[in-house]
Symmetry: C2
Subunit: 216 residues, 2 copies
């Protein structure tokens, strides 16, 4: 059974996507093998967590004393998670963060093509963001119907996030990456992942407080 056919707990899914990146990096460094211990040490996990996570993916080829063959592991992770699919995304909001995303060189290398960037401010329309031209929101609907847009990246202020999400969903975009401070509500069948740097900063801040107290 393919991993894509069953629901995985979010933490497992997040770790598996981290394994892809690690394997990708080690492979481009010329490494051939990886052990669950190396994965664990690199990512601050236990070896048993890594082995348990990897039991979810269809990994052909036995585990040798060197660990897993990098190529096999990469293939198994990529196909199992559907990371071999090219996804087309639009960015809504051409502020600093939105433009940085449109310009980010890593995304196309990882299979995410940013095919459009939109902003509600008429003064921004027509300006460049890398190779893309910022388009007015009034053209979003027609754009989505012409291009196979899988993902809407919401990089607008909090108060506009829900209406942007509604517009994307109404026009058939199945997945939303919400970078906005506001929380968005979506109907069943629509996928949302929240990715907020300020939430990560809060988590880090709490860990620093905790570590300092434990060291006293």
């Amino acid at each position: 059974m393919n991993i894509s056919e069953k629901q995985l707990p979010t933490p497992v899914l997040q770790r598996l996507t981290q394994y892809i990146d690690l394997v990708h990096m080690l492979k481009s460094n010329g490494e051939k093998w990886i052990s669950s211990k190396t994965i664990a040490q690199s990512l601050g996990l236990t070896s048993s967590t890594v082995r348990q996570d990897l039991s979810h993916i269809a990994l052909s080829g036995s585990v040798s004393k060197h660990g897993y063959k990098l190529g096999d592991l990469q293939h198994a992770l990529t196909t199992s998670l559907g990371a071999d699919v090219i996804r087309h995304a639009v960015v809504i909001g051409a502020g600093n963060l939105g433009k940085a995303l449109a310009l980010h060189e890593e995304f196309p290398r990882r299979g995410f093509i940013i095919c459009g960037i939109f902003d509600s401010d008429p003064k921004k329309a027509g300006k460049k963001a890398g190779a893309l031209t910022i388009k007015p929101m009034s053209t979003l609907k027609a754009f989505i119907h012409q291009k196979p847009v899988d993902i809407g990246i919401i990089a607008v202020p909090s108060h506009a996030a829900q209406s942007v999400a509604d517009m994307l969903i109404l026009n058939g975009v199945p997945g939303l990456l919400n970078l906005a401070p506001g929380h968005i509500v979506v109907p069943k069948g629509i996928c949302v992942v929240n990715s907020r740097i300020v939430t990560s900063l809060r988590e880090l801040s709490h860990r620093i407080t905790l570590t300092k107290r434990n060291m006293k």
Copy 2:
């Protein structure tokens, strides 16, 4: 016992930080009360998860039929998680993402002051990123010793991430937010949180695949 004195599982901590943002938003919208059901619906969780998470924080005042008083909940979350502490951060890497972070208006409002931005490219030194001037890496050490830097935000390419982390740690920065594709290894007592938009995109991509299959 304060939450800051015990180790919480990462998912609980991440959800509690999400609750802070939600409470903050509802309060600025003029709301007075919130129920665990509302929190659950807003964030796509179950009410019992929310109640269990909130049992970790010192919440004075009883739960009424309206739910929790927003002000009480905000206070309890903020003090328990140490989110009332002001943190000073430096951004390393003045590429598109690094500059966007330095310019991001949300951070100071949430208690995170970006006090410096550094880049190894001598051509970038002296240029502006909002109110900040991009500084050369050679001045990082002296800067950290002059200012109370709690957090280093690593926004450099993969191959440079580890050496930047080492430099920050060597100069006494206790927390790192790693936005770089590479994984970094740190000694015990140093806190690292990885926040990578491409990992969120992968998670979203997998969820889209899964949803499409289930709808067939």
